[in-house]
Amino acid sequence: MPTLNRETIKANGWALGRVFTAGSAPTLVNLIPDKHKDDDSIYVAVTHDCSIINPCLSSEPYVEYLSARPIASENGHFVNARNIRRLHFQIEVNGSPTWYEASMSFRGFIDRQSIETCAPDEDYTLTNQSCLVLKRWLSNRYVSQTFPDRFNDLTSHLVANSKAPLIKAFNTEIGKACHSIFISLTPDDQDLPPEESYELTVLLLFREDIAIDIGRPALAEFGDRIKETLSSTRGLEPINVFALTDADATYAQIVKMTRWQLDYVSLKDDSEVIAVEHS
């Protein structure tokens, strides 16, 4: 049974979120199919930390990678793992934060055998925060939401394109800082007739250190804006919109709510919705 040297792989610096390039790991990059390669592409290892250093090659024969490309600026709709198909995240390139785009369709598995002889590219580093976002984005794909179809229909025009009211709100400076949206719907298990309304309690979550800089008044104002936007749709009755930090929210609250992936229903084709400028 072929084995690898775990200590060598560790010493090379391999872990989830490490970036490799044609310069640092030519053998690995050669294994990546051409359709995932671009002149300025870099590759992020997204295999779990324990698996990537596993000495047993037959147990963990592959490294999973994501192809990422630099972009001129981030789009609020794709940051913080908000979109299940496309992610805008920051990688520090020689210490300078640079925005990159990854797509679920640009990922794959390559043979792990040569990982011992290759190393991540030290010029590229994911910050802890970027790594957390990346992990959340990867896992979000397998967490499905369960809102009634009627609710999805009612909200679809609010998120239909980049000029739709909710997308605009989440594309503001404060909106971009909101990393998760949770909704409690009443009723949560049935399609209501047109004359009845869903009651909503909405939770907008922010990282605490960012939220402290924003301040409570601005957070409350943002919550009011979201409430007003939802209220404008007949059939939606937002009772409360809370803009809280991760420290404020409790697990007991989260398990009573459903994460809302804004794009899930309406953005069938992201590329037609928002043009992303590549540098």
Binding site: S184, D188, T201, L203, I239, N240, L244, A252, T258
Partner: protein
């Protein structure tokens, strides 16, 4: 030792004055003394007179100390354990102090308590104060642990104390909002 004196705002002065004003009356009631209104002939008004036995200075200091300690309990919602941490004494000491079961108060304890209460009254917004106990129970919160480090020093600095309290209003407002969310979800069952 206490390194700095604090500037007292009007609202803090009012709080401490209330505690000081109420002290002789509380003492009179607690020691079998009496209070009655005595007319002042020239004005037609009345004034309160505290009957014998007249409280000593030590008794007044003691009662004032208990009243100030009670501000931590009632206004800031702190538990006895949390108060003990702030005062750097045992929980049993706090219990005895609150019960008035002690002879006299050490000056160092008086000064420490005053500095803590004055700092809290100055920095923490009034409507947010009852959640202070809940905030201090967040053991993983970095600001709370910074606060605990500062408060654990024998030599308490008001500047340091005020510095570590700077984000507390933000956090306390979050606890209040979070409580509102909990109420809003009270009729909901967990989905997972």
């Amino acid at each position: 030792m206490i390194s700095n004196s604090l500037k007292q705002t009007p609202s803090m002065q009012k709080k401490l004055m209330v505690a000081a004003f109420a002290t002789p009356f509380a003492l009179a009631a607690g020691t079998g003394g009496f209070i009655h209104a005595q007319p002042v002939e020239s004005t037609g008004n009345s004034m309160f007179v505290v009957g014998s036995p007249k409280p000593t200075k030590e008794e007044i200091d003691k009662a004032r100390f208990v009243n100030t300690l009670n501000v931590l309990k009632s206004e800031f919602g702190l538990s006895k354990i949390q108060m003990a941490k702030l005062m750097q004494v045992s929980r049993q000491s706090i219990h005895s102090w609150l019960e008035g079961a002690f002879d006299s108060v050490k000056e160092v304890n008086q000064k420490r308590l005053n500095m803590i209460v004055v700092s809290l009254l100055e920095i923490i917004d009034e409507p947010l104060r009852p959640s202070m106990g809940a905030l201090l129970s967040r053991r993983l919160d970095r600001n709370v642990s910074d606060f605990e480090v500062v408060i654990s020093q024998e030599s308490l600095s008001s500047d340091e104390l005020q510095s570590v309290l700077r984000n507390f209003n933000f956090k306390l407002a979050g606890i209040a909002k979070s409580n509102e969310l909990t109420s809003a979800l009270s009729n909901k069952n967990p989905l997972i």
